[in-house]
Point group: C2
Chain length 211, copies 2
């Protein structure tokens, strides 16, 4: 085993450390966050930090880094209260990654990266037509992370759009069938394959596979 202390991690070359630390949490979700400002200028940005917060009420969160791209997303959420979280399939991977490029103000990633927007009445943020899972959220609360100037942004699900035929009787959504991808670091993409569904764990019973 190799052992790094905090001091040793801080001495590593910047890019090397960023890649290494970004891999430590494990596989991450891949999503596109869609917003628009008050004049109708749209923004679309890839995020790998979307996290489940709760099912009742239905809440999702994401970590907002102090970057230029992220700031458009944040400013738009602040001014309109609305944003969308859209899933990324294998076929969308390269275009979705391209949304991380620093386009100039006034240019939309929808247009430059080849995505189509869709709107629902009474909801100002654009959904990504190409995404299988399209979630419309209302900003709920945010938390400023003092340690590194980032933010946890939490929203309440107002709209959920899904292709029919992909929800199991149990409520599970078949992300593999929808060709959803996962990632590590900031640039490496993976296709997950079903391994097992486990039964609810009981202290007096050994672990049991449902399927």
């Amino acid at each position: 085993m190799i052992h790094f202390t905090t001091a040793e991690l801080l001495e590593l070359p910047r890019r090397y450390r960023a890649n290494l630390i970004n891999c430590l949490a494990g596989f991450k979700s891949v999503n596109l966050i869609g917003t628009q400002n008050e004049t109708g200028q749209t923004n679309l940005a890839i995020f790998n930090s979307v996290v489940h917060i709760g099912a009742n009420p239905p809440l999702m969160g994401f970590i907002l880094r102090p970057t230029t791209v992220a700031r458009h997303t944040y400013q738009n959420i602040q001014s309109t209260g609305h944003y969308t979280i859209n899933s990324v399939s294998k076929a969308m991977m390269a275009q979705a990654h391209q949304t991380s490029a620093k386009y100039e103000v006034g240019q939309s990633e929808f247009e430059h990266c080849g995505f189509s927007s869709k709107y629902l009445e009474g909801f100002s943020a654009p959904f990504v037509t190409e995404s299988a899972v399209q979630i419309g959220l209302q900003f709920e609360e945010e938390h400023y992370i003092k340690a590194n100037d980032t933010r946890l942004v939490i929203g309440r699900i107002q709209h959920l759009r899904l292709p029919s035929g992909h929800i199991a009787e149990s409520g599970h959504l078949d992300l593999e069938q929808l060709d959803s991808i996962a990632m590590t670091a900031l640039d490496t993409y993976f296709t997950p394959t079903f391994l097992a569904r486990m039964a609810y764990a009981q202290p007096d019973q050994p672990p049991q596979q449902i399927k």
Copy 2:
């Protein structure tokens, strides 16, 4: 497409809704969080909400649900300041899932689920010997999420232990080679396969695959 509004989501059966909403963020990381209380009683719990917060300083976060199992983890972190985040491989999946069973106070998931603990000098939380990636963290800050009584807990990496030969020149950790797994919902596990590593995106260039 099926369309659910907030009201329609809230009318769904509880389990069905929990499974569905838990799948929406996409694939999640799988980690074991190890702690011990002031009398040396250890605790080990599976978490699917560990999220990268930043590389400089090296910070990781996780969402703590208001559950019994999670509370031991939280109480131990509060009282000692230390915890470990440990990766889960395919071979460890069933045992790791079993840590979600509600064992009685005084019983350790290390013993009941078949994991070995390891300690580093000056650091009170137990590492999981079986895990390829073993991270020791010092509690940094926490944020109470008013919307659903959960918490974002953030720690600073103090120790990082990894098997040698799995870090690329770029700093990327080969999670596929380490047999790391991903999950959806609360019970469904996946093995991710490498798809592509993309180049840093530039606004005037099309997306480019590095490998």
